[in-house]
Assembly symmetry: C2
Homo-oligomer: 254 residues x 2
Amino acid sequence: MTWSIAEVARMSGVTSRTLRHYDGIGLLPPAGTGSNGHRRYGEAELLRLQQILLMRELGLSLREIRAVLDSRADRAAVLRAHHTRLLAERDRLTTLAGTVGRTLAALEEGREHPDMNGINRPENLFAGFTPDPETDAEVRERWPRAWEESRRATEAMTDEETERWQREVTAGMVRMAEFMVAGTPVTDPAVQAETDAHHRGVCRFWTPNAAAYRGLAATYVDDPRFRATFDRVAEGLAAYQRDAMEVYAAERLS
Amino acid sequence: MTWSIAEVARMSGVTSRTLRHYDGIGLLPPAGTGSNGHRRYGEAELLRLQQILLMRELGLSLREIRAVLDSRADRAAVLRAHHTRLLAERDRLTTLAGTVGRTLAALEEGREHPDMNGINRPENLFAGFTPDPETDAEVRERWPRAWEESRRATEAMTDEETERWQREVTAGMVRMAEFMVAGTPVTDPAVQAETDAHHRGVCRFWTPNAAAYRGLAATYVDDPRFRATFDRVAEGLAAYQRDAMEVYAAERLS
DNA sequence: GCTTGCGGTTGCCGTTGCGTCAACTCCTAC
DNA sequence: GTAGGAGTTGACGCAACGGCAACCGCAAGC
């Protein structure tokens, strides 16, 4: 028993165009083609199509589905990865919806040019920034090991890399500010994930233990130069960042 | 003071390709071009670019951004619509992640061919379905007005429309089953939204008031033929659907 | 014998927001 | 004279198809 493309389409609920597409990308070739070039599908193909549609409903890409069906990938592993992606995307949308909602509220409150809810978005906070000699000397004196490590790492970067990195730091600060104005507690997994990114960023230059990381956190608030940098992005960000770092140090560092 | 494309790219953090793209689609034409064809950007363009990037970060499409900037659309209205879209998409992902998570759990529990967590997914539950004369006569006798209205609406549909409609009904039942196995309470907005869709579907043939809709709900469970149809999708679906409909009737109908 | 219609075919464009070549041009410095 | 850098336009590619065009084969009806 074989079926024509239109019959399969009616039985499965997809369009014949889709079936041709699946044939075209090698996901579901028909059992054979008649003398007139018409595709003929058998039971094996119907079964395969059923599997395809099942996974498609779960949101897997056709490429992944093909990998699974051709047993070039483990079903469970693919689904786990997909699940993680879904949760991450959901969290992203949640944050985004919050930001849009606040912007909207500001707009309707009459502020014609909302300033992003108190967040400034410098494209690159450190553009043309050279650490002033005074601070540099101070760091060198107080933490000579860290200063030396950091110096080596900095010198190894090209100008381009430096700028990309500065941009990334700025973006991280803005994301943190987002959480802050959204009222997200610093213990929230999303905030801690961001803090983890910050920690990894710091580790590019210097690997702090819990106490050192806490020291850095304190410096952000206590040192007027650091605090000013944070507060240029959003008021209170230095303290928020410090709190997040302290939670991170307590939970993830030793 | 004007800037070259590379300068603007460095200042704003986007690539020169992006700027050319924005020019290409008319979103951000340069202030002018030099004798050598090179684009020159002025302060007005930088300001416009800043606005663009702001809205882009909020997730708006370039088309929407252009509409807003050319004041062919209301900022607040666009943001409100976008906010709604974001929330809907977030909810979709949440449900999807739940389904994927349960499928994954079933898979890891050893069931190599998980049956979608107890949900059957007939492509079209009513394929080739003709209401049996007995039921038909019964409905006609008990609710003559409704039977007549429904008959007229049914006859007005082409075969194609009928099949599409049956498919949609089946899909709705599967979505309901998803909520049921996910343990979502029937009072949940998502479930009520689905019930609203069901209600609108019913209204294509017959417009029930609160009592009638509740009566239909009861029939789903009490009538063995209806219940069997629901339970072919998932066990207990008839009761779940009834509960959802009763909540709906109480809250939205009179 | 000719037309009409159905069911199928291939192939190409459009969708979104750019990344990534390729092939040129212009200007400057050595 | 030539190498290099900064710019240009044009085109393909990405995911998963929808939709259209042009064409083919086969049947029925005139």
